[in-house]
């Protein structure tokens, strides 16, 4: 076996090992992200349900207070306090509903990360398969042709990276445009 062929076979073995190890890590990373998505979805569903329940209870309490106010059962000071509390509650509910939308955005970002991992896994599988090719002789031209073919195979299968749809860096409400 020539020196060149020996070196190439060692490199093939190295590529194969790197590809296999990388694929294992990517599989784990993908599983972790999917689990994160599941937990986030569950948490937000529970939060949403609790929020609606609290809101209903608070609304009922407010009805009672409004009734008491209408019966002149409370002093002006208390009426003012109730009014301020009602306003504050409304502001906080508004803010909470804006913040609860974080799950939609983080879910999109996580799914995008998962898609990248899936593509990387495919690339590692392709790399491993390419590294096992042995149909070449030890001439420089043959080796160069082999590398060119491997490179072309990999580039042909590289997917385009999709544009990111979530660019928000804060939970400030987004802008509104009417055409």
């Amino acid at each position: 076996m020539t020196q060149a062929k020996l070196k190439i076979e060692k490199m093939s073995s190295l590529l194969s090992t790197v590809a296999a190890q990388s694929e294992r890590h990517l599989i784990e990373a993908e599983a972790d992200l999917r689990q994160t998505t599941f937990l986030l979805n569950t948490a937000i569903e529970n939060l949403g349900a609790s929020f609606e329940t609290i809101h209903q209870v608070v609304a009922k309490q407010q009805h009672v207070l409004d009734y008491l106010i209408s019966c002149d059962s409370v002093t002006e000071g208390v009426v003012l306090d109730i009014s301020l509390a009602k306003q504050k509650m409304s502001e906080e509910i508004n803010q909470m509903m804006t913040d609860l939308q974080f799950q939609d955005m983080t879910s999109q970002l996580i799914n995008r990360a998962i898609n990248h991992l899936v593509e990387l896994k495919s690339l590692m599988v392709l790399l491993a398969a390419s590294s096992k090719r042995t149909e070449f002789n030890s001439t420089d031209q043959s080796i160069q042709e082999l590398f060119n073919e491997m490179h072309a195979d990999i580039c042909a299968k590289l997917p385009a990276i999709s544009d990111k749809s979530v660019n928000q860096l804060s939970m400030s409400p987004g802008e509104i445009s009417l055409f």
């Binding site: 569903e45 949403g48 749809s165 928000q168 802008e175 509104i176 445009s177 055409f179």
Partner: protein, 121 residues
Amino acid sequence: MQKTILAVDDSKSLRQMVAFSLKAAGYQVILAVDGQDGLDKAHQHVVDLVLTDQNMPVMDGFTMIQKLRQMDSYKNVPILFLTTESSDEMKLQGKAAGANGWLVKPFDPERLVTVVQKVIG
């Protein structure tokens, strides 16, 4: 008479937030989980406004709007996007598809209601 809004989004939490905000303001809300479901619900109901996400499985918002605008009953119904997308390019695409407005998530419930009231009363 109570106005009806069709809200289309593949995120369950978003649908809940939109429904909560608009129902509290006195609107009837019909929910759909993607563009195809939105189209199906649009055929089944008479709505006064469509509020839709863009990036959805099965059928995206742009495609759904284009198909809605081909229906006689939806030629003039206001359609607003509610989406994470914020680029001018996407907004132009939305306008070209037939949308009347573009709201970027996260939405403020009070501002959402104000816009809806401005559009359909």
